[in-house]
């Protein structure tokens, strides 16, 4: 893919808003290849309508966030699971 991407650090604020906790240190397991990577390491493509985060190992789409006035759509179909540190 030639389009330039950023990484999960860049969407830390957005993901905090979506999940209610700091997420860059969360670990995502790819449903495609099984790679286990920090959310900060995901390759993030930013578009006007939202973001697409892909597995840095196999490029599977792991997470999408699409914004609209008053709501947002969060897609997680490519993720086998998320491990989110607890702060309590």
């Amino acid at each position: 893919m030639s389009e330039t991407y950023l990484d999960g650090n860049a969407i830390g604020g957005l993901l905090w808003e979506v999940f209610g906790v700091e997420m860059t240190v969360a670990t995502g397991v790819c449903g495609g290849c099984g790679a286990s990577r920090a959310v900060a390491e995901l390759h993030v493509y930013v578009r006007a309508a939202g973001i697409v985060a892909r597995c840095p190992s196999c490029d599977t789409v792991l997470l999408t966030v699409v914004e609209a006035p008053g709501r947002r759509w969060v897609g997680l179909s490519g993720l086998a699971r998320l491990e989110i540190p607890r702060t309590d």
Binding site: A10, G13, G20, A40, V46
Partner: protein
């Protein structure tokens, strides 16, 4: 990790520009007063939100430049086609207000006492979160051995040049490379960061070094893959890519 930096809700807050310092022709540091700022860790960033009179909003992330104990500061590079950075670099004046939220991020962070040695590799304004780490180390009197490899286009584009000169020495080594133009007699490197340069500057694989790489996506990819090629464990290399992020 300081719990203040990860706990709690992330809410937009009103910040006041306390000071604005030109770093280079394209780069400016904004010192910000934020009532109730919870504190931060070196390497974290914050989101800035601008709202136009017609309600149009633009958000961007900026690395925090200041050490945790200092007044909050961000360092911003003007992007030619930017929506937000030209305003931050050219327009904002002390006393002006802007909305921000943070601190954000727990992956690309370092705290004094976390061990080392450290290799910091920065391209352009990718040096900003690395500078926060260097400042945090200096502020704490931490003796962790640190090598900073910092790539800039020209000497005039080097951000924090005088402060780095002042801080360098002892266990902090600062190595510059200038990719576009060099002054006569320039003693440093004069090319893009490559595997040969990293082999000379990096700690040896097995030294237990932690590495932080920040810059444009091509810069980060090339540095990280060269380090892995030199035998450094991928898990010891933390990366942060910057770029204009329209949201």
């Amino acid at each position: 990790m300081a719990r203040a930096a990860v706990l709690g809700r992330l809410t937009w807050q009103l910040a006041t520009v306390a000071d604005a310092v030109a770093e280079t022709a394209e780069v400016r540091t904004l010192v910000l007063d934020v009532p109730g700022w919870p504190g931060h860790l070196a390497g974290q960033h914050l989101d800035v939100r601008l709202t136009a009179e017609d309600g149009y909003r633009a958000e961007r992330s900026y690395s925090i430049a200041s050490a945790p104990g200092d007044r909050l500061a961000i360092t911003v590079q003007r992007l030619a086609d930017g929506e937000v950075s030209p305003y931050l670099v050219d327009e904002l004046r002390p006393g002006d207000e802007l909305e921000l939220r943070g601190p954000i991020g727990g992956y690309f962070v370092w705290e004094p006492g976390r061990g080392g040695p450290l290799l910091l590799v920065g391209g352009g304004s990718g040096v900003v979160p690395l500078m926060a780490m260097i400042r945090a180390r200096a502020e704490a009197g931490d003796e962790t051995p640190v090598r900073l490899l910092y790539s800039s286009r020209t000497l005039d584009d080097v951000i924090y040049r005088e402060e780095l000169e002042r801080l360098a020495g002892g266990a902090l080594e600062v190595v510059h490379t200038l990719t576009r133009a060099r002054p006569d007699g320039w003693p440093g490197y004069g090319r893009r960061v490559d595997a040969a340069m990293l082999a000379e500057v990096a700690w040896r694989p097995g030294d237990g070094a932690a590495t932080f790489v920040c810059g444009s996506t091509p810069f980060v990819e090339s540095v990280a893959s060269a380090l892995v090629g030199l035998g450094h464990a991928p898990a010891s290399i933390r990366t942060e890519r910057y770029g204009g992020v329209p949201r």
